[in-house]
């Protein structure tokens, strides 16, 4: 699945001007906690989130996220959009909720790129 296909499946709207919609997505990941994203997302995933602040873009950039999908029709503030444009991270808005978006994409064959982390402390 590429970004173009994904936009069709979730009736999405591309908010950023960034190109590269034929880029292949390896899988999906849904979360509102950026630390959870940083902890367990694998590279080249699409990030589904309800969070709209610029930190979403920074998180995406650090974790090599292919695109960000903002659920529930959220419109991000201008700082988020300009940062996304500057860092070439595509931002997509969809009218559907998180559960619906996950379901649609999973049905369409998109894999989960959420790496389980053990609940216990594995820190050194």
């Amino acid at each position: 699945m590429n970004l173009h296909d994904l936009i069709g499946i979730i009736d999405g709207t591309l908010i950023t001007k960034s190109a590269g919609l034929d880029r292949e997505i390896k899988g999906g990941f849904g979360a509102d906690l950026m630390s959870d994203v940083l902890a367990s997302i694998q590279p080249e995933a699409v990030l589904l989130t309800g969070l709209c602040n610029p930190q979403v873009v920074r998180t995406a950039q650090m974790a090599d996220v292919s695109a960000i999908v903002l659920v529930r029709g959220k419109q991000p503030p201008i700082e988020t959009i300009s940062l996304a444009n500057q860092e070439s991270v595509p931002l997509i808005s969809t009218p559907y909720g998180m559960f619906e978006v996950c379901g649609r994409l999973h049905d369409a064959g998109l894999a989960s790129l959420e790496q389980p982390i053990s609940g216990e402390c594995d820190c050194g």
Partner: protein, 330 residues
């Protein structure tokens, strides 16, 4: 290019506005004088058509402006030459066959304006005028295509060159131990800028030729540390990154308030962050846990009332005796 033309030929819909590519951006950024042919092959109205024919053949052109006393008075195209060859007299001059319907473009206009003219007028070439209204060049669709391609290549080469220069830094400079130190001042409470330092560090590592997975681990660890400085300190702090060929050492330090119970702070899910911070997607008590998962070595020291110093190391070449299974995958 076809897509570009179509978009310019009518009002842009929202759907199309979303699909603006780098190429289209360039059509707005590049000026006509950056892509035009400045070596002007011009004719004068009195030139015999035989000479015009010879010029077209020898210079391999398909059109030329007609200039009289520094002013543009017409344009001659291949079609005009064909008309001359079919029914022109031996004494015909350029004046008899040139087209006087002049559509010109100003040299300082963006290329996209010229593209609109090509679509609207179906002309094959446009004379380019300077601010004083004198012809200084000629522009064809081919010139625009070449100009856009060159600009795209330039974009690409600039980043290539930066990466090349940076990645040879350690080879070009000889010392017993070379290191590159990057320092960033992080302001307390500055959420909008949060992640800027980490983003720059990650980019620097990639330019230095670091493995993308190492750059990613480093970026994630530094980002968490940067957010901690923004969220939990009184006056912000410093991030210092030392890059050496065999390792990356990152230090994040501040002057307070410090961590009261380090063991508790290291426990997944433990957080002292406010509700406001949680709404930003942070403060889930995973920051230090994430850091420890991303780096090969981590040391956290803190004195309540004095400050905190977090030291992280990533090994680029495994030091002797490090068990392979200790490597933490990000």
């Amino acid at each position: 290019m076809d897509q570009l033309h179509n978009i310019q030929s009518r009002a842009i819909t929202d759907q199309e506005a979303q699909n603006i590519t780098r190429l289209e951006e360039l059509a707005y950024e590049l000026r006509v004088n950056e892509v035009m042919t400045a070596d002007l092959k011009a004719l004068s109205p009195e030139t015999p058509m035989v000479d015009a024919l010879e010029l077209f053949r020898s210079a391999k052109i398909s059109g030329a402006p007609v200039i009289s006393n520094g002013k543009l008075v017409g344009i001659i195209s291949l079609e005009d030459l064909i008309r001359y060859l079919t029914n022109g007299g031996a004494n015909s001059t350029v004046e008899n066959f040139m087209s006087r319907n002049l559509i010109t473009v100003r040299s300082t206009e963006p290329v996209v304006e010229a593209l609109k003219l090509f679509v609207d007028t179906r002309h094959g070439r446009l004379p380019v005028m300077n601010e004083e209204g004198h012809p200084i060049g000629i522009l064809t669709k081919g010139d625009i295509t070449m100009g856009l391609l060159k600009a795209l290549q330039r974009d690409y080469q600039i980043e290539e060159l930066r990466t090349y220069r940076a990645s040879h830094l350690f080879e070009d400079i000889v010392s017993d131990r070379t290191s590159l130190i990057l320092r960033y001042t992080i302001k307390q409470g500055d959420f909008t800028q949060g992640g800027t330092a980490s983003s720059r560090i990650k980019r620097a590592l990639l330019r230095l030729g670091a493995n993308p997975l190492i750059a990613r681990r480093c970026g994630i660890a530094t980002y968490e540390a940067e957010m901690n400085l923004i969220i939990h300190t009184e006056h912000g702090g410093i991030i210092r990154v030392e890059i050496e060929p065999h390792q990356i050492t990152i230090e994040a330090y501040d002057d307070g308030p410090g961590i009261q119970d380090i063991d508790q702070a290291m426990r997944p899910g433990y957080s002292t962050a406010s509700e406001e911070i949680r709404e930003l997607g942070f403060g889930a008590g995973m920051g230090l846990v994430n850091i420890s998962r991303c780096v090969d070595n981590m040391k956290l020291e803190s004195t309540w009332g004095k400050g905190t110093r977090l030291r992280m190391k990533l090994f680029l070449q495994k030091p002797e005796g490090t068990p392979a299974d200790k490597e933490i995958k990000a």
